[in-house]
Symmetry: C2
Subunit: 203 residues, 2 copies
Amino acid sequence: MPKKTFENLSDEKKKRIFDAAVQEFSNRRFSEASINQIIKTAEISRGSFYQYFHNKEDIYLYMITEISKSKMDVMGRTEEQNPEADFFEIYIKMFQEGLQWSRSNPDYYRVGLLMELDDSRFIHKLQAMAAEGLKSLSNLIERDKRRGLIKPEVDSQLVVEMLYTLNMNLLMKDFMSGLEENMEKRFINMVEIIRGGIARDKS
Amino acid sequence: MPKKTFENLSDEKKKRIFDAAVQEFSNRRFSEASINQIIKTAEISRGSFYQYFHNKEDIYLYMITEISKSKMDVMGRTEEQNPEADFFEIYIKMFQEGLQWSRSNPDYYRVGLLMELDDSRFIHKLQAMAAEGLKSLSNLIERDKRRGLIKPEVDSQLVVEMLYTLNMNLLMKDFMSGLEENMEKRFINMVEIIRGGIARDKS
DNA sequence: TTGTCATGTGACAATCTTGTCATTTTCTTG
DNA sequence: CAAGAAAATGACAAGATTGTCACATGACAA
């Protein structure tokens, strides 16, 4: 949590600092990011920084929170929109919306990917928290089991992990290389393979 | 390539340095690993180090090469052993052998995983080279297509990537958390899902 | 105008890092 | 044994990093 002194700042200055943080954390992993760079970009003094934030973790958390807010505004309502859609329809839709969001907020998106790459204690805690969010997905799979769409013996948690892993890997490659041409096609391809692997045999 | 002065060293000293490098690179990513730590562990002076190697990349490459040799001695013959086995049988066998190798050489194994996590230019080049090795796997899939075991429209390259990604993710988790109880079971579970997704419908 | 108080500042200490180089030590060979 | 070659050494330069702290500044109220 930023200190009270930070809250007191003008919106303009707060934004300047936030943007500087995004700039840094979207180019270097948390453990490699430098406060020096942030204060240089934000044009504040070293002393000020420590008057606003306790340390690097503090500003990172602040930034992540802000970004999450922004993402929540755009996404997170896919599930409610089509209550009748099956798991894979919803999942693909979510992917596409995520893609759209990442295209309009490339920096925020890069922050997220770099977070995935980090291996500091601190970041691992955050990742664990994020993983909680995946539970709702496995609930969807369970529902489709009851509907008779998915084999009952399938480990839904495992499937969610698989999809998440493959998804992340795909985004990561895109992020690193910049080529994303048939990314969506590849994504759907992968999802279809898994769907085929867990779908209940038609009979 | 290490300098000639390094080659001239006694086997004992070479091993001492190699072991020190393994110790460091199995605990920190390439970009974070410190030469200081290596020379301290190996008990050589700073000057000596630079008389043996050009820089950090140099010793890393040397170490990776040695590790690869050691792994090649143990693995890499799975495919030839059962020329009649189908792709998934071979793949699972490979995984199991790899697991065994990693258990008898945990440090080498950690080096490999940390390499996967790094994002420096240098390491990316190495990763690209390693990826070449995956081609032989997609050949196996192609063969199984011809055998009528796998749907002809499947993108074999994509399947290999999926398996590789999932595999890595599994190993990584194990690496981080230390719990590996039902790892093999989970692995087979995942592989079976993909197999089900690309297998030709029985008819 | 003056006193108070929140805020801004950058020099500083304390740690790191890599790569170099003049010097010393050890080895080898005539 | 003695001279010349090869190897080992660690101090050093030059560059980072984070967090602290004594002080400067400026706003606001009495």
